[in-house]
């Protein structure tokens, strides 16, 4: 099924806010189209203010689009759902509950009729999965930033959502902690075959974790300008990944985009033939033309051109 109908389909999404000065509405982004397949890990990056968080909130059902639709599993997304777990940037743990109670709150929401022991056991399994066994009776205020974010991960995974949405989950963490948690996330995602949509500012994080990286141009009228297929083989190791032939071409391509192309794309947006579907790059393309503008090719829509683990 997933080959024909993508798991998540975003069609012509646009979001406008009323202008603060009372003029025309400001369109933050428009013509946003993309698909995510089951088990795929997709990262989005782009400059601040281009609308990444807004898109994530629309996918979560917490916000609504001005125009356009989101379909998941063939059904239109119209509000928040337990099918889509969210990991918030600010961890969003309830400070009056312990680690265990925070996770149990989610588990109980997912399976209201389960008994206490079952809920506790289920919650503990995920607390152990993120390496927090022993800290389950602590309050969030007693935890470090990294541990809090781990609880957030445990809580999101514990409800076994069909899709996980993460908004710069590790942005506030120090580099060392971030590395450790990225490794854990990599491991958990490999185990659970979790479908993930993740916003990140960190190019290396995107390369380490994702199957595809979507690049957003600057707003207003931001779009998904390019999609890079991240074909680096799995399982990936943070310490060894830079030895892959494709690593630097991908990395340079992403950095180039953020540094220069993200702005250039903006000047195209008013042109009548401005692309509304993003250009797709494979690392192989990037290798041949390291310096010169890359030759883009648009693959047939719907054909998955990523290599999924166990897909």
């Amino acid at each position: 099924m997933s080959a024909i109908h993508p798991f998540l389909q975003v069609e012509n999404l646009a979001r406008a806010y009323p202008s603060p000065t009372g003029g025309d509405a400001i369109t933050v982004f428009d013509h946003v189209n993309f698909r995510i397949h089951k088990g795929e890990f997709v990262c989005v990056t782009g400059h601040s203010g281009c609308g990444k968080s807004t898109i994530l909130n629309i996918l979560a059902g917490l916000d609504s689009a001005t125009t356009g639709n989101v379909f998941m599993d063939g059904r239109e997304v119209a509000g928040p759902s337990l099918d889509r777990g969210v990991i918030f940037q600010g961890h969003a743990l309830m400070p009056w509950l312990t680690v265990q109670e925070n996770v149990e709150f989610a588990v109980k929401s997912r399976w209201p009729s389960r008994n206490k022991q079952k809920i506790r056991a289920h919650a503990m399994r995920y607390i152990e999965l993120v390496g927090l066994k022993g800290a389950e009776h602590k309050k969030p205020s007693q935890l470090s930033g990294g541990m809090k974010q781990r609880v957030g991960i445990a809580r999101a995974f514990s409800i076994e959502p069909k899709m996980l949405l993460m908004d710069e989950p590790f942005g506030a963490l120090d580099a060392l902690t971030r590395g450790v948690i990225q490794d854990e996330l990599l491991k958990i995602c490999a185990e659970t075959q979790q479908t993930v949509f993740m916003i990140t500012h960190d190019v290396d994080e995107a390369i380490l974790l994702s199957d595809r990286i979507m690049l957003m141009s600057n707003g207003p009228h931001a779009r998904i300008a390019e999609i890079v297929n991240n074909t680096l083989p799995r399982p990936r190791e943070r310490s060894a990944i830079h030895k892959q032939v494709h690593y630097y071409p991908i990395r340079n391509h992403l950095v180039d985009f953020l540094v220069s192309r993200s702005k250039q794309f903006g000047s195209l947006r008013d042109a009548p033939d401005a692309p509304s579907s993003p250009t797709v790059f494979d690392p192989a393309d990037l290798i041949e033309s390291d310096v010169e503008p890359v030759v883009a090719h648009t693959p047939p829509v719907g054909k998955p051109h990523i290599h999924l683990v166990n897909a």
Binding site: L62, M94, S141
Partner: protein
């Protein structure tokens, strides 16, 4: 003095020192004037005999007389010799019952209403003008209306307590509920938590410290107001006791009642202090 005292030990010593100074000043101020009144004459008796402003200083009890009264009254707090002579425990119990009754009724109204106001800007805007208008009214101003409509004096006092407890609880509940962090609400939305569970498991604990602060303020005001209310309605209670003893010209008993009002007020406040700590959370 080689041993260092901790901060609280120092504070305790200073407190005791202050008490000693107060007692000393009190003692000096109540020393019998001239030699007209013998030191062992009952001040009430002296007041009755001598009367007037000249003897005012000596009709004020000495610390020793006060201590004696304290001992006598506290060793029999619950005696009941008819309407004008009841133990201090009974009077305080009447006052406490009215305060708790009015306070409880106010909480039952204010907390759900505060929830509704805090949850919806529309309800907030609709109710806010009334709150702003009613809040500054002295609760005692309601007394005639209460006596006219309710007719019962004791119930009127409870009503006055209700009115004065209402506003701080209402405003704080609304404020606490309106300011629950959006993150927590988003979490419960993505978890599809039903409204009742969200109210009790997310909003209530999140707003509890603010709500409890409101309850604490309300209780403080209620205890202030009950004394005045009972002076007006009479019959029973610590406020009535104060007024009655003033009519009896027993300043000793008035002073004693003042002290008891302070002690009970402090106890009530510390109960809410403890409750407040229980629901507090650190972000």
């Amino acid at each position: 003095m080689k041993t260092k005292l901790s901060l609280s030990q120092k504070a305790g010593l200073l407190s005791l020192g202050l008490l000693a100074v107060i007692l000393l000043v009190w003692q000096l101020a109540t020393l019998p004037e001239a030699k007209v009144v013998a030191a062992d004459v009952d001040p009430e008796y002296a007041a009755l005999m001598g009367g007037g402003a000249a003897r005012a200083a000596s009709s004020f009890p000495t610390p020793a007389a006060m201590a004696q009264t304290l001992w006598d009254k506290l060793s029999h707090p619950f005696y009941d010799n008819g309407p004008n002579d009841k133990g201090i425990g009974i009077q305080l119990a009447y006052s406490l019952a009215r305060v708790l009754g009015g306070f409880f009724l106010a909480a039952v109204v204010a907390i759900p209403l505060g929830f509704a106001i805090g949850n919806s800007r529309m309800v907030y805007q609709a109710i806010n003008p009334y709150v702003q208008l009613l809040k500054p009214i002295s609760p005692l101003a309601w007394m005639p209306l209460a006596l006219y409509t309710i007719k019962d004096a004791s119930a009127s006092a409870i009503f006055v307590i209700f009115i004065c407890s209402l506003w701080p609880m209402l405003i704080n509940t609304a404020h606490g509920v309106a300011n629950v962090r959006k993150d927590w609400l988003d979490v419960s939305r993505t978890l599809e938590v039903n409204p009742l569970r969200k109210a009790f498991r997310v909003i209530l604990p999140a707003a509890a410290p603010t709500i409890l602060t409101g309850m604490r303020i309300s209780m403080g005001i209620a205890w202030l107001v009950i004394v005045a209310a009972e002076m007006l309605v009479g019959g029973t209670g610590i406020g009535y006791f104060v007024w009655n003893e003033w009519n009896n010209l027993s300043l000793t008993n008035v002073l004693f009642a003042i002290l008891m009002i302070g002690v009970v007020g402090m106890a009530l406040d510390s109960v809410f202090g403890v409750l407040g700590k229980r629901v507090a959370y650190q972000e």
